[in-house]
Every structure is written in C-alpha cells, then in structure tokens.
Symmetry: C2
Subunit: 438 residues, 2 copies
C-alpha cells in the first residue's frame, strides 16, 4: 500500500470524546471513525487488523472441530418468545417492525436461532455431537456506549454453540472450546486468564470468562504467575483425546484466578507469595454450559440409540472480535502509539522513504516494497521525515525500514523494531530476512 | 470435511416455497435455511461458496485500486435527511428507533455515509482520486421477497464509491470498475454482458447494469455473439493506462446489448444475423456515475491545486454478492443438481467411499483425502452408494472420486467430472493431478 494513494488518514489532535488509550489511538491512527453513538466504520488500517484477528479466531475454531455458518443479523421476535427472552432482554435489544408490522430485532446473540436451525436437520444421535459457530455483527443498544470498540453498540462477535447427547459429551465440548480460546489469545500475543464467572442472562451451571491482562484494563484481577508462562501448543493437547482435554482443564482451572468481585482471600493465601500477581484485565470472551435450557424451550429432541427421544445438552461460547482490537492495544502501546503483536499487525513493515525523488532512495525503497509483497506500507508521501516517523510509530507496524539518501548510496537500510526501539543498519537481504522472521 | 461429522444436511423433498431452480437446489443441498421471510442463514456449504465469491470480488476490486473499508449496518436517519433520500426511499428502507428514540435505519446502500466519512479526511486535490468499497450486509424490505437469495431482504453487497477531481477522472474510475466487473464475472465462470441502464433512485447521468446469461434468467436480453468470446486478461488492459481503459470501454460498449425494455430494433438490425443472440439473463451488478449529486448535498469539497474549493465527482458500483450464488446456479445446473464452476465450488472434490469399514477402501480414501488437504469433502457415512452419488451430484462438486473395494484392491479410483459426466479409472497420482489442474 503506497501511502500517497492510500486512504490511511491520521489525526494530529487527540479526539475529545475518547477517554482510554485504545480509543484515542484507533481514532488518531485512522483505524475507525464513529458514524453514530457507539457505531463505527472501519477504515482500511483498522479493517486489516480486524480481519487478521477474525481469521485467527476462525482457524482455532476450525481446529477444535467447530463448523462455520453465518446467521443473519435480523431475527424474528417469535423465536425469542419461544425461549421467553423477548421480554426479559430489556432495552439493550434493538427492536424493529418491518413494513408488514411484524416484530423483528437485530440479534444480540443467537441461542434461539441456532437451536431452531439445528432442530431442522438433526434427527438422531448420529447427528451429534456438533458445534456450529459464526462470526457476525451484533447489536446491543447500550445506554451509554463508550470506550470506542470496547463497548460499542454494533460489534463483531464470534459465537459458537455445541450440541451433545449427554453431560459428559457437553463437558468435553466445553473444555475443547476453553483450550481453543487459550490458543486463540496466545496466538495474538496476549496473556489470557480464564476465570469462573456468573452465568447471567444466558443461564446455566458452568461458565468462565477470559480476561486479557492489560495495565489499563477495566477490572482488577488476582492470578497465579503460572498463567504468564502457560504455553498451549497443538502437540501437548489433542482435541481428539478426552483425557487431554481433562488434563488441560485441570491444569488451567487448578490455578488461582479471580476478578475482585469473585476474589477469595482464603484461597489466595494458599498461593505462594512469589506467585501472587495482581493486575488489571479486560474481558474478551465468555463460555457457558447451560444444559437443556434452550433445547427444551425450542423443542429440540433427537432419537437416541434406543430410539427414545433425547434433549441435547448445549453450551455457547463467545469472543468479542472487534473488542479484541481495543484489548490488544490496551495491552500493547506506549506514548508514541500502538505496538502491534506480529500476528495481528495491519502490515508487517512500514517503508519510510525519507527523500522521495532521490533516485537511489526511491530505487531501494521500491526494491524492498516489491520484495515484501502485500505486507508492507510504503510511505512515499512528499512529507517531512518527522511526520513519517510519528505516523509509523502511531500506527504501530512491528518493523520500520528507514531509507534515506546517505544509506541508499551504500544500499543500506536502517531497520527499527517498534516494540523495543532497537535499530540496526543492514543490507536489503538482511532487512528482508529479519522482517519475514517475525 | 468428513461428512460423518459435518453439518451438511441435504433434503430429499423439494421445498414447496421454492419456485426457481437455484432456490430449490440451495435448499435441497443444505446451503441455506430461511429464518424469516426473505432472510437466510448460510449453512457450511453455502457459506464456503459465498466466501469464495466474495473473495474474487475483493481481489478484483483491489486489483483495480479500490480500497476496502467496512461501514456499519445501522445508520443515522440524519445522514439521509442531508441527501433528501430519507423520505424518498419509501417502505423498502427498514426504519428503526433506538432506546433514546433516535431515528436509525438498516442501510440499503451507503452513498451518504461514505461521502460523510471521506469528507472527514479529504482536504486537498492530493487526497484524490480514491475509490472506497466495502462488502457488507444490506437490508431492503421487499414487499414480497422471493427466489431465495436472488431477492432476499438481508443480502450481501459489494459497493464501491469513487471520488475524482473532475469528469475526466471520474470517467476513468467508471471504466476501471467496468473492467473489474467483467473480470470478476469471468473468473467465476460466468458470461456477463454490460447494458446501458436507467439510473433510477441513485440518480446520475451514466449507468450500466451487468447481466449474467442463464437459461432460466428473469429478463430477456439481446446481445452480440462477441460477448461469448470476450476474454479480458490482465495483460490486455492496464488500470494504470487511461488509453487502455478507453479502448476497453469502446470495445465493450460498441457491441450491441439490451434488455427487452431497452431493445432497439433499428440498431439490432445493424448486427449481422449470425451474431444476433437472444437469451435470458439475471442482473448481478450495477454501476453509476452521478457527478456531484451527493458530494454537493453532503457538503464535500477539497482544495484544488489553485487553493479554490472543488466539489468532487462521484460514482458508485454495486455487485450483489449473495445474489451471485443464485445467478451462478441458474447458469450452471442440470436435473441432478448444481454444477459449480471450479473457481467458486465449495470443495474441489468429493471422495465417495462406497464401503466404509473395508480396509483397502478406507485406506485409499484417507490417502486421497489427506493429499487434497482442506479442499475435499469425504463421504465416509455408512450410507448406500446411491445416496452418496445423489448427494454429490446435488451439491455439485466439480470432481467425484469414487472408491470401492474392487478398485481399491488395485489402488484405482473412478474419477468423475460433474460437468460432463466423463469417468475414468485412474491411479491416486493421476486423480490428484487432474483434480488439482482444475
């Protein structure tokens, strides 16, 4: 992407309406633009990150055996009357009447719809277990939307729904999703801690929320230092082996972790003092096992091996995809701007041409740009070097390749790592090697 | 995807509500499920095709220099009051009041919003030309939704918006989009014909619609046979060269093409009889040049090279992404089911294991499945061969690899090409070679 032709507008002033770092930085870097209260348009830079985050979520859902579908945003009120939630949901539900005066709504979640869809096809125990997920825009009419994409009204959510024949199967599904979530956040360069949680309006008997550790997080959390070293490679635990899922679950839930509301001083003193960590966190995911709550109300039954009807056991599993962008920035930024983890960076590298029009500088810049393919942004604007440095720091590309006439004369590039500020003068080959390595 | 674990439900009965081939076939093949009148959930098979179609649209927009953003579904009525379309739009617009009683709507198109966003950043002639597009769900509250995804209420559309300093620039943008559209449809295996069209409620002075030729199409079209041989490789025309765009435009618009409403008998007789074609077609895209209609009303100006304010010239360019699936099926199916063009097939190949449990059959099937990676569906269900043949024909995978005990004993696979019905007994290596070749 050549900046001279791109639509990547940065703002110099700090927008007044933004109270937290991620909101300010996303506006300043030209990632998003508010179009109504709590509703945002995603500009090219923001959309690139959103898609990378979405794709990591998708790949880890697929790896766990969940199958992607896509349910519509607009739902019929009748579905929600069957579960009894139409009246319960309150003012956060955006209610709509269509031209025929039928009551509709913009879906805030999909338990009712997915159960109804599954009911249309699942006839026998052979059709279970299944886990269906989708990544779709949701709407919750927050009374006071704020914090940018962290608490918007229209937001992108991944929600998965599992159907099992019995509690044992549903427990496996729950554990598989917990493992998928931990891997998902790990791949994004985040430290995630799962915590026992209330089930709230979704209902049910077992629930965990996933908290991302970030110094500017919204809630205080207490956790065992072991979470900081947790690595969950695909070699260690297989989704195909129930005992692996059980071991994983015991390992992770055996470690102390609680938000301040759920904090238990007695249990906390059992954690050795050198492993006690207190920090701030942001909720980015929530999983629920709620048994037959929705399958019963929506009339879902399948024939068991003996021909008798069985009401499937269900769970639901959410990740706030658009919210994650805010959480990642809260966890990874400095005074100058965003510091993207490699896996979710909008572009891997920014090429800063310090003197457009200078033959050698242009040539070396173009060479590197061509070699990096689509994964670089090329700042070829006729602006001062200071503007380019600031914009690249603000947008948070992991690497900056700084190219000026003096270096270019010797085919040298000054390579800067955004996260550490480290700089090195290197050849084109060496620059490529380091940038592609991570 | 192993069918024994997949959520790919096929229906045996022909759904009564479906009147046209594509709607029937999409329901029978388990691609979509209606959740309300004119609103569909996309099941795994349908979603895979939708994503492939969307990705081709995206790649050709990117190649033409358009930049992807993502605007929200819910818009403020205030924006539409500025353009004067809030009252004009009528009952097709889904109007909403939020909890604070603010008037909102589910966007049917985005001229107002994109102009407002662009206005927030574009200050001078250096910020133009730009073309911004997004691929987002739209809602039009059709009084009588029908024909499945061909005339649904919630539908996926790609809409692009160009901003130029003058009419000459806007004409280039218009021609570039026309070229991108022809390439887009060509890549999907479709024959597309652009036709002069009325501008309708979008307004403006120049407009073309793109009609896909399909024997079961909704409207009658008259066109020059030259459209059937048109090939638009990237080598022939460059988006960077205005003269290429002009040549392309003259070539394509110089050929006779008209729907029956616009048909001109006098001009038709000028086409030599052996090149006159009459057929049926389906509209899948529409492009408009409308000058300053929206930029003026939304107050968009930029400083020209002389510092004087200039009102940019605009165009908008739509493709019905979800509608295209219906159009492709209308253009490519037979009695037995869908015949997917290679580029948009949900899976390249179906592996039909005729005797699950037979050691050699299982081994050869698994070997081919592993070799094909994610691009195969493996029918490992304990069903009769006839069920598997029918389901594979119905779903329309370009290749079927039929594996039974007799063949497997000699490491032989019966390879069937869905489009032609051709069959050949081949080795694993030869099967792989043919399947991957297209």
């Amino acid at each position: 992407m050549r900046l001279s032709r791109a639509f990547l507008p940065t703002l110099k002033e700090i927008p007044a309406e933004a109270a937290i770092a991620s909101h300010k930085l996303m506006l300043r870097a030209g990632m998003i633009r508010q179009t109504s209260a709590g509703i945002y348009a995603w500009l090219p830079l923001g959309l690139r990150v959103l898609k990378k985050v979405e794709q990591i979520v998708r790949e880890e859902q697929d790896a766990a055996g969940a199958q992607e579908i896509l349910m519509p945003t607009i739902q019929s009120a009748d579905l929600w009357r069957q579960s009894g939630r139409y009246d319960d949901y309150g003012k956060e539900m955006l209610r709509i009447r269509d031209r025929h005066d039928r009551e509709m709504l913009f879906g805030p979640t999909n338990e009712e719809m997915v159960t109804d869809i599954f009911k249309g096809y699942a006839k026998s125990y052979r059709d279970l277990p299944r886990n269906l997920y989708h990544i779709q825009w949701k709407f919750r009419d927050e009374v006071r939307p704020r914090f940018g994409v962290m608490r918007g009204r229209e937001f992108l959510m991944k929600d998965a729904y599992s159907f099992d024949m019995d509690v044992e199967g549903a427990t496996r599904s729950y554990r598989a999703m917990m493992l998928a979530y931990m891997r998902t956040f790990q791949r994004m360069g985040l430290r995630a801690v799962p915590m026992r949680a209330d089930t709230g309006p979704i209902g049910g008997n077992l629930s965990h929320e996933f908290i991302i550790l970030a110094p500017t997080g919204e809630s205080t959390v207490f956790y065992d230092a072991a979470f900081e070293e947790l690595k969950l490679s695909h070699a260690d635990y297989s989704y195909e082996k129930p005992e692996d899922l059980e071991n994983f679950f015991s390992q992770v839930t055996g470690l102390y972790a609680a938000t301040d509301e759920m904090h238990d001083e007695a249990a906390w003193t059992q954690v050795s003092a050198d492993r006690q960590r207190e920090g701030k966190g942001i909720e980015v995911g929530h999983i629920f096992f709620f048994g037959t709550k929705y399958s019963e109300k929506m009339g879902l039954t399948v024939a068991g091996p003996d021909g008798q009807p069985v009401v499937p056991q269900m769970g639901s599993y959410g990740i706030g995809v658009s919210r994650l962008l805010g959480a990642i920035i809260e966890a990874s930024h400095d005074e100058a701007g965003i510091i993207w983890p490699d896996a979710v960076a909008p572009f891997r590298c920014a090429i800063l041409n310090l003197k457009p029009g200078d033959l050698a500088t242009d040539a070396l810049s173009e060479k590197l740009y061509a070699a990096l393919g689509g994964d670089a942004v090329y700042d070829d604007r006729p602006d001062r070097a200071g503007v380019k440095f600031n914009d690249a720091d603000l947008a948070g590309y992991p690497w900056q390749a700084i190219i000026g006439p003096r270096g270019a004369a010797n085919e040298k590039i000054e390579l800067k790592r955004r996260a550490t500020g480290e700089r090195a003068e290197v050849s084109l080959e060496e620059a490529l090697h380091r940038i592609m390595a991570g």
